[in-house]
Structure formats: C-alpha cells, structure tokens
C-alpha cells in the first residue's frame, strides 16, 4: 500500500512542524507532497508567509539591574514563543528554532535575562537552516551562551573549560572524538569573549583577556573563535553527529547506515542545514511505505504537543496554568534542565508528564469554541473526522475510539470531554 499524500503531509507537520489548523490539510493536499516539502524546507522560495518575529513589540531589560523582574519578562517571552509555535506560517523554520534550542540548550534560570534568550532564539530562527559552521560561530559568541556556559569567565588568566568541553561533546562532535588536552586548548583559544557593557544583546572580544598563544586542537593550530569553529566543522565526526541528531529527532531512529548517508550529503553541501533537513525528511517519507520497525513512533514533547493542540482547536490555556502544567510536564521552553537538553523519548511518558498532558488537554478543550470544527466533530461522534482534524488522517485506534464514546457521556458542553480525551490519547502523544 502506498501512503496517501494526505497522510504524508500530516506526517510532515507532526515531525517537522506543530500540527495543522482545520482546513490546512485540505489546501496542502491540493499542492501535493513535493511542493509541501519545498515550502517547508525553503519557505522564501516557495511562497510561504514572510518571517514573523515572535517577540515583536515586547521590551526586555538590557542589563541585570536590581529589581529587574526576569521572571515576568521570561513568562511573557515564553508565552509569545508558544503563541508563535501554535500559529506559525513557516512551520519547519519554527521547528528548526525549537530543534536548535534543544541542541544548544540554554536556560533562562541561569542567564537571568529574557532578552538574551530571545536574542539567541532569533539567531536560531534567522540562521537555523543555513550553514552549520555559521550557526556554530554565532552560538559560540552568543551572549546567552557566554553566560550559560561561562564563556565570559574564560580568560587568559583563568581559563574556564565549560564551553570548550560541551561544544565538542554535545554541539559539534560527540563524546570520544577529542581528548582532555583538546578541551583545554579549545577553552584557551576561545578566551576573552565578554558581554558588551550596557547593551547585553551583544558580545565583544577583549584582546587583553584572550590567550593568544597558538593551541593544538584536534591536530590543527588554533588561536581564536574562527580557527576553532573551522577545526571543529572539518572533523569527520561533525556531520555524523549533527546528522544523527536530525535522524533521532525527526525519524526516531539511530540507523548507522542512514546517518552515514545523511552525513555524506550534509558534508558535500558544505554543511548546509537545509540540505540535511531535506535529506532526512525524504528518508522519512520513503520509509512511510516500509515496515513499521523502520518508522517507529516518536513521543511528542509537551511544548510542541501543546502548540499543535492549540493550532488544531483554537483553544488556549492561561499563561499561569500553561506554565504550571508545563512545569509539571517537565518542559518549560527557554529553561531546559541542563546542557544536555530535555531527555525526550520515554521520559515524556512519565506519570508526571502524563498527568500534566491530561490537564492541559482538559484546559484546551474547555476553551475550544462551539464553532470549532474540531469540537463539532468531537461532539458528533465522527471520530474519523476528529482524527483528521487533529493531523491523524489514518484515524484513531480502537482503544481511543472506545474512550471517546465513554467521554461523550461524561457531561459538560458537548464535545469538550471527548476532545480532552482525544488530545491526551496515545494517538496524539506519539507522532
């Protein structure tokens, strides 16, 4: 059996987007899969909506002063970002911003300035599909990153290994592809970067605090950020590491043969993220007709799940309730637990996450309008239509259909209980 265009397009918007609003799937189906892939991967050249800044109109403190309420600014910035994810006209660009946020995880709890987080996320939104080398260069001297991994403390007199280690282990190469001597060399060559005084959305290089002695890094001589980045991206391990991360995030697999193939194409494109993205997506589409073992289910993380639920239903959740439930779910955007990012996969099936997901589902369903096609389908018992509107054109499983029938007898505004169950169901928990 060949997967229908409709199913393939829904799959794309589950794996490299944040779901679809009512009517979108119909319109995209008319375009066909190939055109949809083009538009997702290269929005500017294929007629997508122009880029929007999720934080437009918000003002952020520039320097941490006494009395600065970074929490209030953070809640506003996170809320604006979640609003954007649930309505973006450039789904894959937004998805890449989210992906890089989890690849270069930086937490506002330590950065303490929401404005710096926004500056970093704008970098991901702007440069996230271009050259990986440029992206790595940008993030290495990004102000939030200089705070998060202590780059601003890394000076000639007092070298700090934090960024030098993590850039190789987590961001560019993977553990086992460098030595302890490389960590020290990398740190020394990157020393001397500070936040610009007064206007902390910028960073600056302070030569007096830079260790200018040539360092031996991975067999090459390096002296500064440019030579460090050039050395890292020239390692054969670099495209393999990034290709593995894309495969894991989009396909949920760790197929070494596929990683090698993706890495080869990524390298041949001079590390164009857009090329890697397209290759990964195409590999996934090709596998939709293959055996189930080649296309495993991927557990949707709580924040992307919430964005998709909002997009489909038009329902919402108050900032306060949203923050509380996302905290219980284990995923506050802009605040990953550590430099490794969110654990993902089965971690999103913990008791705490499952309870929080159900509570968010109830809140979203309760605020979905009677006029919403999704609520109408939930109320009417048309499960096939409800599933299609929730980006699952293949329909729900039998267990969920039984649950929906029970929920319709749970009282309340027609369709609300059934919609809450549908959103929290296993069918929507995985993509």
């Amino acid at each position: 059996m060949t997967t229908s265009d409709r199913s393939a397009i829904a799959w794309l918007h589950r794996r490299v987007g944040f779901g679809l609003a009512p009517g979108e799937l119909d319109r995209l189906e008319e375009l066909g899969v190939d055109a949809v892939v083009d538009r997702l991967v290269d929005p500017d050249r294929h007629g997508a909506a122009p880029r929007r800044d999720p934080w437009q109109g918000l003002r952020f403190s520039q320097v941490p002063t006494q009395g600065t309420n970074y929490r209030a600014e953070s809640v506003a910035a996170i809320g604006a970002w979640m609003d954007h994810l649930s309505s973006t006209g450039r789904p894959t660009e937004s998805w890449l911003t989210w992906f890089w946020h989890n690849h270069f995880p930086t937490a506002v709890a330590k950065v303490r300035l929401a404005g710096l987080m926004v500056t970093q996320l704008r970098l991901f939104q702007r440069a996230g599909s271009g050259s990986f080398a440029a992206l790595l260069r940008g993030v290495t001297v990004d102000p939030a990153m200089l705070v998060w991994l202590d780059g601003r403390e890394n000076t000639k007199a007092t070298p700090n290994e934090n960024y030098g280690r993590e850039v190789m282990e987590l961001f560019a190469l993977g553990v086992g592809h460098y030595t302890e001597a490389d960590v020290k060399a990398c740190a020394a060559a990157l020393s001397g970067w500070k936040l610009a005084p007064g206007a902390t959305t910028a960073s600056r290089f302070v030569p007096a605090q830079h260790d200018a002695r040539p360092q031996r890094l991975l067999g090459r001589t390096v002296t500064d950020v440019d030579s460090v980045v050039a050395t890292l991206v020239a390692q054969p391990a670099c495209p393999v590491h990034i290709a593995g991360a894309f495969q894991d995030a989009i396909l949920g697999t760790a197929d070494a043969g596929l990683t090698a193939d993706l890495a080869r194409r990524f390298r041949a494109s001079n590390l164009s993220v857009r090329t890697l993205l397209r290759a990964t997506i195409e590999a996934g589409l090709a596998r939709l007709d293959g055996p189930p073992s080649a296309r495993p289910d991927v557990v949707v993380a709580p924040a992307p799940w919430l964005a998709a639920a909002r997009r489909a239903t038009g329902g919402t959740v108050s900032r306060q309730d949203g923050a509380r439930h996302l905290l219980a779910a284990g995923q506050i955007p802009m605040n990953p637990p550590n430099v490794g990012g969110w654990p993902g996969g089965p971690a999103w099936l913990s008791t705490s996450t499952t309870v929080a997901r159900a509570n968010l589902a109830a809140a979203i369903a309760a605020t979905t309008k009677d006029s919403s096609p999704v609520l109408r389908a939930a109320a009417s018992g048309d499960d096939a239509r409800l599933a299609d509107l929730l980006c699952r054109p293949e329909g729900f499983g039998r267990a969920t259909r039984n649950a929906l029938a029970d929920a319709r007898r749970a009282g309340g505004r027609p369709g609300v209980a059934a919609l809450a169950v549908a959103l929290a169901s296993p069918d929507l928990t995985v993509a």
Partner: protein, 422 residues
C-alpha cells in the same frame, strides 16, 4: 536510551486489563483503585507501622564539589584553592575529627554527626571517567561503566524484589531518573505534588473523564512508544488517585534556629525531601525515592552558588530527618547522596571544572558515623583531580544492603561496603 522496556508496566493486576481488554475497563479500574486506596487507609487507620526499609537518594546534578563540601584541613587545599578555599576557622567542626570540617552552609548536619547518624564517603567515582556529564551519568545510573545498559541500578533492585508492579514502590521527585529504569517494574515521577491530580473541564464529571481516559489504555495496539503511551495513561491515572490522598505538600518542620548558618535557602533538595518525608509518612508502600536536584555544575561564581546549594542540601537533610523522626519512621530510612563526579582540585578563578572522585553523605540511624576514603591532594590523578579510589558500586552496595539486597544480582558481584552501616 529509547528502550521501551523501562515502561513495561503491564504486571500489576488492574493494569493487566490494558493487555486483555475483556474486563469492563473503567469500572474494573475504578474498583481496583478504590481497593488500593482502601488498603492503604486501613493500614494507616489500624496504626500498622510499616517496617520495610526505605532508601532515599539525593542526586546532586552537575557534579558537586566534594573538596568544598567536606573540606580537608591541610595547606595543600589552600594552595589549590587560593580564592575559593574556605578558611579553616570558618569550617563546621565535626566532633572528634581533626582532618576535615564541613562547609559553613552544612552546619545543620553537625548535630547528625554528633548523633552518629552521618557518614562520609570520599573519593567516590569510576576509574575511567571522561569528565562528560552525560557519560558519567550513564555510568552512575546504570552501574555498568563502559557498557551500555537498558536498566538502572535501582530498577534492577525493583525487578529483583517486586512481587507485583506497584508504580509507587519507587518514586522520583523533581522529574524522572534513569536509575529507576527497570525491565518490568514501573515507577512514579512527581514534579509538582499540588498539580498531581486529574482536573476536568467545567460541567464534566471528573470521575467519568478519568475513567474514559483509562479506556485509551486497552487494548494495547502496536508496539513501541505508542503501546508505552497507552500503559503510561493507565499507570498515571492510578497513581494520581492514590497520591492525591497522601497530602504531599505538608511543609517540613524547621530545624532549630541555631542549626543553620546565616540565610537558609530552600531549593530542589528541600522541596524534594519534603515530598519524600510525606510519602514515607503516607505509607503507600514506597521503598525507593530519588530526589533530583541540579545546579552543582559550578564552573563560575562558585562561592555564592555553592553556599546556597549546600544550605539547601544541609538544611533539607536536617529537616527531612526531623520529619521522619516525627512520623516515627526514622529507623526505616537511609539517605545517600550521588553526583556524576567531583570537581577539579585546582580552582579556575571563580569556579571549578569537571573533576573525578566525589564526596558523598550517608545519613540515618543505620550508619556508624564515620569518614571513609581519603582525597589525597598530594597525589592527584593525571588531570589534577581527586582520584576515584572508592568505586561507585561500593556506595550502591551500602544502599542496597540497607534495603536487604540482593547486592550481587543488582551490581554483578559483591562490593566492599567499608563498614559504613551498623
């Protein structure tokens, strides 16, 4: 990391309906939950005191600086720590001990040392430590260094000792913890005890909604993550019901004012141990509790950060011990700290980079009250770190011995426990 077996929750009788589907799903589930809650209430009402031992593990995520936690009183320490070094005169003295003193923030622990309820194990680690947080964490949670594993050390203990599959036998607070990954045994993760119950939209029957949701679990369709998601719904619904009755939000008793040093900062440890103490008092059959705390990766600005972290650790442990004593449970409980590594012996200016051997606390009436292991500052390892002279599995063997074993089955063989337990 994506092995589904850690979510194989199907052993418990009522969760079993997820596999069968022949039972009248929701009704059967509700009945079983009711009986589980009733059984717990009965035990409490009859004043039945649980005697099973409990292990509490406090994970200091990020790599705690052992040398500034239990501080060696020696000139070499000050050579390595010209700015971060704690003056000998500022240390909390340990009665009868001249070689070490505690960080000033750990003053609440002095009374536990005096009561012989605090033991200290130093130089804990694995011989082949890459200084990667994540590789070190993998080795710590699996207890199989250098070898990929799908189960954690506590998960294997759950598998080896469980008769049913009660998710509340093991509870991870502040998020999940891979040490609890098991082949068969489910566990519970709690982040926000106040929010750990299922809410319903206005006008919707909460009971009917919960019952409908549980029907999503049965019959199990497909495999992999989707099936795991079905089982997760059954487990979460069950646990939410039972935990809602346990009042996990009760505050810990304050320690006497003289026990703290300066400002007390409650953080992850205190919050987690509060839930732990209430869980133990609620008598829900919980044997293993993991408290996840973070922020110990003090590459920079360590003096201020570490002061707060240790105030939370010391104050939290002291308050926890008071709470379990108050509920008559102290004799059942052993608390052990873990962390992926210690930190570099020589400071980097304002902080410390990743190191090797770490310092850990073992607390409770079950310990002898001793210091085991010596961080040899005259003979640091090639990276300039305290050597890992006591294997992590020895620390685990202490913990597992407290639980009654089987140590060999969980850790592959027996390990020296250095006479830490009575």
């Amino acid at each position: 990391m994506t092995d589904e077996r850690d979510l194989d929750l199907s052993r418990r009788s009522f969760v079993g309906l997820a596999a069968g589907g022949a039972l009248a799903g929701a009704a059967a589930w509700a009945g079983l939950v009711e009986s589980a809650v009733a059984a717990g209430a009965e035990a409490t009402a009859a004043g039945k005191v649980a005697t099973d031992r409990v292990l509490v593990v406090v994970q200091e995520g990020g790599g705690n600086d052992g040398l500034n936690t239990v501080v060696p009183i020696t000139g070499r320490y000050h050579d390595l720590r010209p700015t971060l070094g704690l003056a000998d005169s500022s240390l909390v003295r340990l009665t009868g001990e001249t070689g070490y003193g505690l960080h000033p923030s750990l003053k609440p622990l002095a009374a536990l040392w005096g009561a012989k309820q605090l033991s200290i194990v130093q130089g804990v680690g694995y011989p082949d430590n890459s200084r990667s947080h994540f590789q070190a964490l993998d080795s710590w949670w699996s207890a199989t260094p250098g070898r990929a594993a799908t189960t954690g050390w506590l998960g294997r203990w759950l598998d080896a000792t469980s008769t049913g599959a009660d998710p509340l036998r093991a509870v991870s607070i502040g998020g999940g913890n891979p040490a609890l990954r098991a082949a068969r045994s489910p566990s519970t993760a709690i982040v926000d005890p106040a929010g750990f119950s299922l809410a319903a939209p206005p006008g919707v029957s909460a009971a009917k909604l919960a019952a409908a949701l549980v029907r999503c679990a049965s019959p199990v369709e497909g495999g992999g993550m989707r099936a795991a998601a079905q089982r997760a719904i059954a487990t979460a619904s069950d646990v939410a019901e039972r935990v809602a009755a346990a009042d996990l939000d009760r505050a810990l008793p304050a320690v006497p004012a003289d026990a703290g040093s300066g400002e007390y900062v409650a953080g992850d440890v205190t919050a987690g141990l509060q839930v732990a103490a209430n869980l133990i008092a609620a008598n829900l059959g919980t044997r293993v509790i993991v408290v996840n705390a973070g922020g110990f990766d003090t590459h920079a600005n360590q003096a201020t950060t570490h002061r707060a972290l240790l105030a939370d650790l010391g104050g939290g442990i002291a308050r926890f011990q008071q709470a379990v004593a108050k509920s008559g449970q102290a004799a059942r409980v052993l608390l052990v700290t873990t962390s992926e590594f210690g930190r570099r012996a020589r400071e980097n200016g304002s902080g410390t980079d990743h190191g090797n051997g770490g310092t850990h606390l073992v607390v409770g009436p079950g310990v002898k009250g001793s210091i085991v292991g010596t961080p040899n500052l005259a003979k640091l390892d090639p990276q300039g770190d305290v050597a890992a002279s006591i294997d992590v599995r020895s620390l685990y063997a202490i913990a597992l011995s407290w639980l009654g074993g089987p140590v060999d089955e969980v850790l592959g063989r027996s390990w020296d426990t250095y006479g830490v337990l009575r």
